[in-house]
Amino acid sequence: MDFQLTPEEEAFRDDVRAFLDENLPAEEDREPLFMLEWTRKVREQRWVGFSWPREVGGGGGSIMQQVILKEEMAKRNAPQLGSCFMGLAWVGPSIIQYGSEEQKKKYIPEILDGAYQWCTGYSEPDSGSDLASLKCKCVREGDEYVINGQKTWTSIAMWSKMIILLVRTETEVEHKHDGITCLLVAMDDPGVEVRPIRNMAGGAIFAEVFFTDVRVPLENRLGEEGQGWQVTLSALANERSSISEVYGLRSKMEELKELARRTVRAGCPAIENPSIRRRIQRADIRVEAMRLNGLRFITKQLKGQPLGSETSINKLHRASLEIEIGELAMEIAGSASTLTRGADEAPDGGSWAQVALSWPDVVIGGGTPNIQRNIIAERILGLPKD
């Protein structure tokens, strides 16, 4: 066991720190114009798409360098690297792995520059957890594909210029995972209609997307026809160690403790309430367990072994923690915790009420907890499939 960095890694960390010292002001001093500067500079550093190969414009960072960069960034609450969230998370990696040279040349620089947003058309009304049962119909006509069908729970569809779309190009298949094809489709193509879905927190982040006779040139196919499931899996398998999520949870926990310190209940700061303390500690321990689980995953990657179903461990922890943090905030803040933005009495401007209602974004998206439990039970423990 060895947690120390090699001299080369230490040198890289020092470089990162020096860059941040010079270019990242304290949070309260980040002026509106700062983001423009920051975006340009981190792009120049090749920190956007840092894990991607240098020849496509990425940073070519090693696994450890990625970890170091994420940690140093998180410690200072640095803004995100790049703004094209899904493009950076899985569209880009899929294009790098399966895309044609033209696709790489066309899309990768725009993803790195954050020229526009991508959204992800996977789920359908009848295909959620059982994604491979998807039906969105796609027929080849000459040198075009014609798409008819519906996607749903498509996050940020209304603000996206492109969608990575899974469609069914063949219906008569022995195995439902066959006959699925992956397409890259422009959202302003005729026949694409977006209807935002209002969520229980009152906002609209995801949408339904309807496709009526949408015509897409064959060269917009990613990977081979019928290879869509594989393309998707390898994109989703682009899992990381959950380091960023851990730091996100850590800072939420710190805010929660701050709330508990300044909230006086029955004459006593909530943080002195034994049951609140215990719950805070339990959550803290789980965040730390996630961090260390993540380090074990990284060790596996460093040994050249791909990560498999074990990433479900931290997804389950994260799901419970996101819910628990919202619940705990309400337990701490009492009646005021139910107030939303606009009420003077709402703690932290009503943001805890938002937290208490926003957990489904994380908990449902990317596989519900029960799906994660199935994955562990079947793929790791070897129990029979349902």
């Binding site: 066991m1 060895d2 947690f3 120390q4 960095l5 090699t6 890694e9 450890m64 403790k257 943080i271 303390r277 215990r278 805070i280 500690q281 803290d284 321990i285 789980r286 730390e288 367990a289 996630m290 260390l292 689980n293 380090l295 074990r296 990284i298 060790t299 596996k300 460093l302 040994k303 074990e310 479900s312 461990i313 389950l316 922890h317 029960n370 994660q372 439990r373 199935n374 562990i376 039970a377 079947e378 790791i380 423990l381 070897g382 129990l383 029979p384 499939k385 349902d386």
Partner: protein, 427 residues
């Protein structure tokens, strides 16, 4: 393990001899960094070549794991464990001697005292396996007492007691708790009286692991009225005024007993360190004890999960293996999530203890909290998922449940460690 790392891999040489070979190679430039580091203090911060961060084990440690597991599978399967625990001592002397020969007992003891001078992380590998097979032995007790002697004892004291512990000829234990069942310094009230040039100890030590079979007791006693005015002394079995025996207890694979002292004589050369200054070391020993039992709990919980998983695959109801039902498979998945999580916390705690990291104590408490709460849940769930047979003496799952119940209070229960975390971590 990918490549052969040394020639004698398939030989019959005991691990200890192989480890010695490796330890001797410490100065070479082969890539055995973690083992070498723990093996040789002088190289600890030296210019050694390291590959990269490794939150896992070296090839040698994995090899040691395989050897320990093989030994236990061959010699201490659960059927044999059941036989052994019914004997008066509760462990098998022959197996104990062989385990000592293989180097398990002296693994972390200093080389000049007959040990192998390896780090706690290497011992962790052994403990995960002894835990998995519920191997009954005074290994943890002896290692912990030896650490007390190593940490506080003089060169002469170490030379006097450690070789006998390293080679397994003597068994030792740490006698800390009393009636108060309180791990704080005020929990130690065993009275000491000065009589000429000796100290006389009178009182009772309770919940002493392996009391009935120990040859040496590292005893905590009160040497003054100041809150932390406590000392440690080494008492030998059978000395006048000492009586030791085991309690009947829930987990038959772990013996707990008492040490009764009625004016037991302690010469000055049997007191470890300056009188009245032992508390910081006792604190550290509690952390170490908590870490050691938690390491065994990781292996034991995996054993419980495996047993229940296998049962769920075989047992058929409603024309299906019950492991197909989500009501069965989901709790098993949750068990896995918890075990992997306190495994990570435990691994880190061992590394932190080895390296004397400032957060070592905090790391131990986090691991012990998680294990103390989760392992008993896993045991209860394991019994439940077995249905009625889980409740029988005949099925093995109950053995794991009892181990989990034994773990809960050992070296601080969850409540104790939550308080420690708040105190150390500043909540």
């Amino acid at each position: 393990m990918s490549t052969g790392c040394f020639a004698c891999r398939h030989s019959e040489k005991p691990i200890r001899a192989r480890m010695r070979v490796l330890v001797k190679r410490a100065g070479s430039d082969r890539l055995h960094a973690p083992l070498r580091r723990s093996a040789n203090q002088s190289l600890r911060r030296g210019a050694r070549k390291r590959e990269h961060m490794n939150f896992g084990f070296s090839e040698e440690q994995e090899l040691l794991r395989a050897e320990v597991r093989k030994f236990l599978d061959q010699n201490a399967a659960l059927e044999e464990v059941r036989r052994i625990v019914e004997t008066p001592e509760g462990f098998d002397r022959n197996l104990w001697n062989r385990a000592a020969e293989l180097g398990w007992v002296g693994l972390t003891m200093p080389e000049e005292n007959g040990g192998m001078g390896l780090g706690l992380v290497t011992l962790l590998v052994v403990l995960e396996e002894t835990g998995r097979s519920l191997f009954p032995s005074p290994l943890i007790s002896t290692v912990l007492a030896a650490k007390a002697i190593e940490r506080l004892g003089s060169t002469d004291q170490r030379a006097r007691w450690l070789p006998g512990l390293a080679d397994g000829s003597k068994i030792a234990t740490f006698a800390l708790l009393e009636e108060s069942d309180n791990l704080a310094p005020e929990g130690i009230s065993l009275a000491a009286k000065r009589d000429g040039d000796v100290t006389l100890l009178s009182g009772r030590k309770l919940y002493v692991p392996d009391a009935g079979s120990a040859d040496l007791f590292v005893v905590a006693f009160r040497s003054g009225s100041g809150p932390e005015d406590v000392s440690l002394a080494v008492l030998e079995k059978g000395a006048s005024g000492t009586t030791a025996s085991d309690f009947p207890a829930m987990d038959l694979t772990k013996r707990l007993g008492k040490l009764e002292l009625a004016g037991a004589r302690v010469a000055d050369d049997a007191i470890l360190g300056e009188p009245g200054t032992a508390w910081p070391s006792i604190r550290w020993l509690i952390d170490l004890g908590a870490a050691l039992v938690t390491a065994e709990a990781v292996g034991a919980a995996e054993g419980a999960l495996e047993l229940t998983r296998d049962f769920a695959k075989e047992r058929t109801q409603f024309d299906s293996p019950i492991g197909r039902f989500q009501g069965v498979k989901h709790p098993l998945a949750e068990m896995y999530v918890d075990i992997e999580s306190y495994k990570s916390l435990t691994y880190y705690a061992f590394w932190a203890l080895d390296e004397d990291e400032p957060d070592a104590s905090l790391a131990v408490s986090r691991a012990k909290v998680y294990a103390s709460e989760s392992f008993p849940e896993a045991g209860i769930l394991g019994v439940q998922l077995h249905g009625a047979v889980g409740f029988t003496w005949e099925y093995d799952i109950q053995l794991y449940l009892k181990r989990a119940k034994w773990l809960r209070p050992m070296f601080g229960d969850a409540d104790y460690h939550y308080h420690r975390i708040a105190a150390v971590g500043g909540l």
